[in-house]
């Protein structure tokens, strides 16, 4: 088997329901290592739920998800899920920084407490990560003192500090004002260029076109259409895709 051709994320026929409501109705997709995949679609189409399934926050009812060597649907104990989450990190729409810790401490916490790494090494890495997201001067600021865009970049640095294999981004610019969206997207772009495997749920179509290798359009819990951004945005095949894009663009 050739490891390079093996996709790092392989999702097969995933079904998921909250009570009687079926949110995902058979989703299949693959992401190669270092690939950047964007998932677009109307609200309530199950995009965020899919991401939550991938790092085991939400259990699936049927199908299989294989990520970084883990069979997610087979992980039962907390310990198994923790092992998965060390490799698959998630950034949220509302940043969810820890408000009682400074930016630097937010970035350092998980590697110190979860990975049990040496504090001096973690600090070095955290400082470098904050520099990477251009927040060196805010290292000692608390989340409450930072703008939304700055908080989101700290959140990205915090996830990167775990040195994951895959990064999941759940509508990370949805809560930001247009001017700060750009700074966050620049960070993601650099990340993708560095070869990080990224899955993004986003409403930023222009950004998706710029950054993605493949774009998936979801609606009603299924993938309606997939393809490289040029094809999906310029020559969509399905009527539903066309209707959605004409409303957004």
């Amino acid at each position: 088997m050739n490891a390079a051709s093996e996709p790092i994320v392989a999702i097969r026929d995933v079904h998921q329901s909250f009570g009687a409501v079926e949110v995902l109705k058979g989703i299949s997709l693959e992401v190669p290592k270092g690939g950047v995949v964007c998932i677009i679609g109307p609200s309530g189409s199950g995009k965020s739920t899919l991401l939550r399934c991938i790092n085991g926050l939400v259990p699936i009812n049927k199908g299989s998800i294989r990520v970084a060597g883990f069979e997610v649907q087979k992980l039962k104990t907390d310990q198994e899920k923790i092992a998965l989450r060390k490799e698959v990190s998630m950034v949220f729409q509302q940043y969810n920084l820890f408000p009682h810790k400074t930016a630097l401490q937010n970035v350092m916490m998980a590697p110190i407490h979860v990975l049990k790494e040496n504090e001096a090494e973690v600090r070095e890495r955290a400082v470098a990560l904050l520099e990477k997201v251009r927040l060196t001067e805010k290292a000692n600021a608390y989340p409450g003192e930072l703008s939304g865009g700055q908080q989101q970049r700290v959140a990205i640095a915090r996830s990167l500090a775990m040195q994951p294999e895959v990064m999941l981004f759940d509508e990370i610019t949805a809560a930001l004002d247009p001017e700060t969206v750009k700074e966050v997207l620049t960070t993601i772009k650099e990340l993708a260029q560095d070869g990080m495997t990224c899955m993004l749920v986003t409403h930023e179509m222009r950004f998706a076109r710029e950054i993605a290798d493949v774009v998936h359009f979801t609606d009603g819990g299924v993938i309606v259409e997939s393809g490289p951004p040029d094809q999906l945005f310029d020559r969509p095949v399905k009527d539903r895709t066309r209707a959605f894009l004409s409303q957004i663009l």
């Binding site: 926050l57 998630m90 979860v114």
Partner: protein, 294 residues
Amino acid sequence: MSRLRWHEARGTDLPVLMPSASHIARAAAAERTSGFFTLRLQPAHGAALLLLFLIGCGVAQAQAEAGHPSIVATIWKWTPLLLGGFLFNLAISAVAMTVGTLAGMFLGFAQISLLPPVRKGAWLTTHFFRNAPWLVLLFYCMFLLPFQVTVFGITIPIPDWIKATLGLALPVMANVSEIVRGAVQSIPTAQWESAASLAFNRRQTMWKIILPQCIKRMLPPWMNLYAILTMATVLTSIVGVTEMMTLTGRALSAENRPGLLLAFYSYVLFWFFLYCYPIARWTVRLEAKYAVNQ
């Protein structure tokens, strides 16, 4: 003046008037967490008490017969004894608060346990002791606890005040349990989620992320509970503990002057006010500060 303080707390020098609705909402939220009315003592309350005391003194003076010492001299004479009793009240409140807080923290954690029997048992215990009348709990402890225990042949007496203190610690425990549970559950679930996606386990999430954020939320209701407990320590006089109320009663019977009643009891009230006032003011200030920061 109090308006000005709001501005400081809000970190702005603009003349912002807080809408009264948010005051009421915040007060209601605080009272829900603590399970009690929040003591909102004002200087005016102290002035009213002082006035009551002065009226009491006036009444006593007017009823004084020839040969009685002045009311001020009488109160001054008894003050060392009464203050000794007051210190005993404070000691009872401190011990009951410490014991109740430690037990209440365990009970509070048990209330958010993932194991249903633990959680339900803790819930039942909490609500039983939280809703039982304090005086009834006090009587239970007085009459159900032995007056001495024998451990390894050594007989250790349990004085009444220890039993009374335990009786007061029970409702404190139940209320602290609710404060802990309420604070933990008031932290947004997003914090749990983001901790989980950084591979924290439940224990680490609790100790490193959730509880540090809870302390701010727990402090005001906890201090309020302490002030209320301090006032409740006079209940122990009913079960025979020699604290300030008991001593006041004894002083009055020794003096045998009915006119002194109002003066002496408002004097007691005034001491409690002096002690609780700073706590109440500080509580309200912390509440406002944390409400702004969240």
